[in-house]
Amino acid sequence: MSDKPNDFIDQYQAFVRAGLETWSRQFDPASEGAAASPSADIMGRMFSGLSGYGDWIRSMAAGEPGAAPFAMGGVPPFGQPDPAGGSPYGPPGAFPPGAAPFGYGPPPGAAPFGYGPPPGAAMPQPGTEQFDEWAKVAREALSMPAFGLTREQQEEQQALFRAWIDYAEHYARFQALLQGVNDRAGAALRDQPVPSDPESMRSVYDRWVNLAEENYGEAALSDEFREVYAALVNAQMRLKVLQQKQVERVTKQAGMPTRTEVDSLGERLQAMRRELRHMHGLVAEVEALRAEVAALRAGKAPGKKAGVSRRPIAAEAASTGKKVAGKAKAVAKKGRAR
C-alpha cells in the first residue's frame, strides 16, 4: 500500500480498466482469439457496470455520492452519442462516421453513430453560454443561400450542420435533467440518518441505488422529462435522416442500390403478397361454394366433416407457408430455434 489515501480505488479501477481493454480486444479482428469467448459480451457489460461502481466508490471517498450514473457512459436514449464525440462530416463518399461496415461493431455503451462537431471547429461544450453564442453565429452562417453546381449538396450540408446543432442543444438539456436527478439522489442519501453501526460500502451503495432509482423514476414520469426526452430523440432522427440522405447520394454515385429503392421494392412486394393471399382466400371460398352447389344439384346436403368449416381451414396457410408436420423437423433436446 502506498501513502496515497485512495490507492486501493486506483488499483480497483486499473483492474476494471484492464478488464475492459481485454474485452475490447475480443472485438479486434487482428487480435488473437478475437470474440472467441462466449462470455465476451457479458464481460464487456460487466466491466462497464463495475467501472461505474468504481466511480461511485471514488465519489464516496470524496464524500460526494454518485457520479452521473444515468447517462450510461454518455449514451442518452436510443444510443445517441455525446455530440462532442466524432464528426458526422466526412468528404462525400465516406462511410458514416462511427460505422464499421466490414468490421466489428462498437462495444456496448459506445456511440453507434459518431455524431460530433464539424471538423476543425473549436466548439464550446454544449449546454454552456459560449455554445449558445457559437450556435447563434453558426446558424446565421448556415442560413446563407448556396450557389452553383453543388448548391443542392451545400444546402444538404448546411441542413445537416443545423440539425447537429439542434441535437447538441437537446442533448445538453437531457444531460442537465439527468444531472439534476443525480444531485437529488445524492442529497437524499446525505439527508438519511447515519446508521449507528458501521456499514459496508456495498450496503451504502445499495441504499444509494434505491434512492437514485426512486428519484430517476419520479423524474422520468414528469412532463418535463417526457418533453426533453422526445425532443432529443426527434432531433437525433432529423439528424440521422439527413445523414442517410448524404449516404444515399454517395451510394447512387457508386451505382449501388439505395435504401430508399430497396424499401420501395419491399413495400410493393408486401402489397402484392397481401393481394395474392386475398385472392387465394377468394378462390377457396369459390371452390367451397362450387362444391355446395354441386352437392345441391346432386340432391344431397352439403357434406360437412366434423370440425371443418365450409371455408377450408388453412387454405391461405397452405398457399403461403410450409406445413412441416409430415416431415417434422425434430429439434434436439437442447436445440436452438432461429
Binding site: F15, D41, G79, L221, A271, V308
Partner: protein, 355 residues
Amino acid sequence: MNGNPFSFEPESARAEVEAFRRKLEAGMETLKHLGPIELGTTPREAVYSEDKLTLWYFKGTKKPTAKTPLLICYALVNTPWMVDLQEDRSMVRNLLAQGEDVYLIDWGYPDGADRWLTLEDYIDGYLDRCIDVIRKRHAIESLNLLGICQGGVFSLCYAALHPEKVRNLVTMVTPVDFHTPDNMLSHWARNIDIDLFVDTYGNVPADVMNFAYLTLKPVRLNQQKYVGLVDILDNPKEVENFLRMEKWIFDSPDQAGEAFREFARDFFQKNQLIKGEAHIGGKAIDLKKITHPVLNIYAEQDHLVPPAASTPMGDVIGSKDYTALAFKGGHIGIYVSGRAQAQVPPAIHGWLASR
C-alpha cells in the same frame, strides 16, 4: 472520507474493495470456461413455418390430457424462449406436466424484407394461419389462446376479430390501458414523432429497444446487476443462469417497421385499444366481442406493464366469465421465478380444465 455522512471506516472500506477485486479476479476463470448458452430446452418440433415464423409443437413426457390445444402467442420484442428458459425454469415444461397440449409461435428475427409487415400481417395473417394449422391438425373449431405482453394484445385483437376460433383466452402481463400514470414507456413514447422514427430507422433495431428498456431502471440494470454478478462468479451454475437471462435480454429481434409504427402510435400514443378505437387492417377491434372465458394474469411488481394497465380488461371485454389473477413478482419473474413455476402453470391448467 472526511466529513462524509456514512458510517463506514476507511480501513474496512479498503479491505472491502480489495476483497471485491480479488473475487472479481478469481471469477474471471469461471467466465473463461463457460460453454455456449442455450435457451429453449423442451423437446419440440416445427409444424408450420412461413417467412421468419415457426410454429412449434412441444413434446411432453406424457400424453396430454387436455382436449383443446393451447397456443402461446408471445410478443414481437425479445424471443419467446422466456417461457422455456431452462429445464427447471420453464412454463412450457410445467404446462406439459399439467397435461396441456402446447404450441408456441416463434416470430423469428425480422430483417429488411419484413420492414413493411403490418399488425394486420401479424394478427390477421401469421397468427390466424398458425391457428388454422392447429385447428386442422386437431380437427377442432377453436383452441385455447395464451397471449403474453404484446402477444396478449395481439390475442385480444384476434379474439375480437375471430371469436369463433378461440375457445378460452388467457392473457399474461397484457396492457389494455396504455395511459396509466405509472407507465414509463408509454409516457416517454407520447411525444416522440413515431413516423419520423420509423421512417428513419426502417426496422427498429433491437439495440434501440433494449436501450429503452435498460433506461427504465438505468442504475439497477446497467450497474448494480453486474456488481451483484461478482458475488456469484465462483458458482458456475449460478453464472450460467445469469448468462441465460442475459442472452434472452440482449439476443432480441429487430421490430418490423410498419408494425412498430402502428403499435406505438395507435396503442402507446393514442391508447386506442381501451377506447374502442383500434383497427387492424381496417377492421374495428371491438373488445366487447370477446365473450369467451378470459383469465388475465398480471404481475404486481411489473415495471413494464403496471397492474393498472392490465386490470381494466375485465371492464372492457364482453365476457361474463372473467378471472383476474395477481402474481407477486415482476414482468419476467412471472415466467422464471421459483414461485412462478409452482403457481402459474397449475393456475392456468386448473382454470382451463374447469371450462
